[in-house]
Symmetry: C2
Subunit: 396 residues, 2 copies
């Protein structure tokens, strides 16, 4: 196809949308949850499991910042791009590194040109800019790349948030320009550039713009309007879930998502719990990523249809029930809370493996049910019932 | 079946034997390698993978010592025995704890009665004896239990080795007597003992005796003869791979294995590398267990058909080949050395998961080829070719 993405809405219910997002590497049904594969691996789970009908993850996210530092872009280029390097043949999205370097706090210095920072691995001084991020993301070769942005903290004043938003807009312009250059380079015929290009990278990526503005709704709307004016293949809401109140987050989503271009994917970055996802879908969001299912899995927390379960709790020592009695995943079909608690208490890797699997299964299955409910006009009902059950709690 | 095990030799080639070992939980083709599941989990791999046609592990080993300390036998009893607790429905063998408490070195004190030791977890004082080991193993409920033995170090003097062997023989007598009592208890009709028994434990286990004697061949032969006189369902060679020279180990195996009862399984405990396994099969051994494929997998070492590969080595940074070019396992079909090295260097759990999977696949596939070659009268040829290729090295 000539365009990098094809986005077709197939059903709506109020603001909620079901759509198909077609990429070079398969069709993604939205609303979709993207497991986070920071370093080219979704921690604790094999790709075979992610591809299995039980999970069926159609797209994963990888981190430009982390992969740029380790193993480094020359390695990934030499191995034919990120898909080839890691052995994942489905779609991928790479973030720009903007959020990661911002998260370094005292270790980074932001200027007009870009962000100077010290590597969290070896302390070496590094510099990331829109141009470098685009070049790195082109070498990674994900189907979707992200503009290089600056994030403002949740409690930013209006002035701070405005400055940050203006910088993000200037970086968005530079991202787009650099992206076009990188695309042109990667699309040059092989004969001209035989040694550094591989066929697997020889196709057009999509670039998403990122809306910032902290919790200030007027800035958010301005950011949206001016980002759309620059023109991207999709749009993301950034800078949420960074310390603000949950009510503030939902207010921003409610105010922004429905105003985002109706014919492009809408991506809420770094959010969130299953209930956050459903509430954001109700406000028109199509795409999500979050480390919660994987990270919390490694620290002993299971997401269930009745809320969170902390497997460390002594009450589960003899509990013969699965993590979630309503879950049909392979972990819940086979293993008890008592066994998984024993594994966790013993420091066994299998605890993380099983909890990660279940959590991803729960997130991905929830999104599947969200899509089905939108298509059958039952999303409002699903949302109500899901939330009610979640609020019942595990012990009821 | 009335007997706990049925052992039928199906083919022989010189001393090497192929046989079927039928248990309540499935048929095991021997020679067989048992992955080690210390705490009720084979570290870093899910049971679904162990059961897959690719690995098809028919029996795993679990550790009485470790499970007795954590989660404790009351928990496992309350969960209906070890199979139920961990969700593994195929055969299991439990060791007696003798080797583990012996390994504690300065932390244990051995007397006629048994071994007093401090728990490696909380330092609490504990006591393990033939009677306690049999009771614990009955509660675990594996298809095969092991007699409680004492191990002598590889460099033991004749006198030390003899004392140790004599103690092991007295403990073997006590193990057998206590085992019969425990079996009688677990086989009592449910009405008499409703609260502590579950159906999953209500069957007859098998008990193997263990031959000791360090590197002293005359003691080994005496140990064999007197252990057989006591009478067990199978016999194991213990006390090898504990610091002695490899040549000494093979000498003991060569001297003992062919003299072991021809109609019972012969089990070589805690051994070894793929070449050790093949050499021991050539001397008449049927069963093996070893932590090498799992433990070395977690420390970055792959076993391949051309020898060991240390994935940490910088030479693999851009290596696009699989761990083993002759391996058809799911890891080798999908992932490169470069990627697995990146995972290992980044501290990613997936490095351990993939290396463990490949190593187990390599061990289990090697044993499958051993069985096939014995059945087709080609074992000598297989042994020669396997060893030649191994000695070629990875870089040839």
């Amino acid at each position: 196809m000539s365009r990098p993405l094809d986005f077709q809405i197939t059903a709506t219910e109020n603001e909620a949308r079901a759509a198909t997002l077609t990429t070079r590497r398969g069709v993604i049904e939205t609303p979709v949850f993207m497991p986070v594969g920071t370093l080219g691996t979704v921690k604790g789970i094999r790709f075979e499991e992610l591809e299995s009908p039980e999970l069926d993850a159609r797209i994963i996210l990888s981190n430009t910042y982390h992969l740029w530092l380790r193993p480094g872009i020359e390695t990934i280029k030499a191995c034919g791009g990120l898909h080839n390097f890691i052995g994942w043949n489905r779609a991928m999205l790479t973030d720009s590194g903007g959020f990661q370097v911002w998260s370094l706090g005292a270790l980074r210095k932001i200027s007009e040109e870009g962000t100077e920072f010290r590597s969290h691995i070896d302390g070496s001084l590094r510099f990331l800019s829109p141009e470098i991020s685009m070049e790195v993301q082109a070498a990674l070769g994900a189907e979707i790349a992200m503009a290089f942005d600056e994030c403002a903290p949740g409690e930013a004043t209006r002035e701070e948030a405005q400055q940050s938003m203006e910088l993000t807009l200037r970086w968005a312009q530079r991202s787009k320009a650099a992206f076009e250059v990188a695309q042109a380079v990667s699309l040059r015929p092989p004969s001209q550039d035989k040694e550094t290009q591989t066929d697997s990278l020889r196709y057009r990526q999509a670039l998403f713009g990122i809306i910032q503005g902290s919790s200030h709704l007027d800035l958010r709307r301005e950011s949206l309007q001016r980002t759309v004016e620059i023109g991207f293949d999709g749009y993301a809401i950034g800078g949420l879930s960074v310390g603000e109140e949950k009510g503030v987050m939902m207010e921003v989503i409610e105010s922004i998502a429905p105003r985002m271009p109706v014919d492009k994917p809408r991506y809420l970055m770094g959010v969130g719990t299953p209930e956050d996802l459903i509430e954001a879908v109700a406000r028109g969001v199509d795409m999500f990523d979050c480390v919660l299912p994987t990270r919390n899995g490694r620290t002993g927390q299971a997401f269930t249809s009745r809320g969170k379960l902390n497997i460390k709790n002594a009450r589960y020592a003899l509990d013969q029930r699965p993590l979630d009695e309503d879950c049909a995943c392979s972990v819940c079909r086979r293993h008890t809370r008592a066994f998984i608690r024993h594994l966790y208490q013993s420091g066994e890797m299998l605890a993380s493996i099983l909890l990660t699997h279940h959590n991803l299964a729960f997130f991905l299955d929830t999104m599947k049910r969200v899509r089905q409910s939108i298509r059958s006009g039952q999303f409002a009902k699903f949302r109500r019932e899901f939330t009610e059950q979640l609020n019942c709690g595990l012990e009821s």
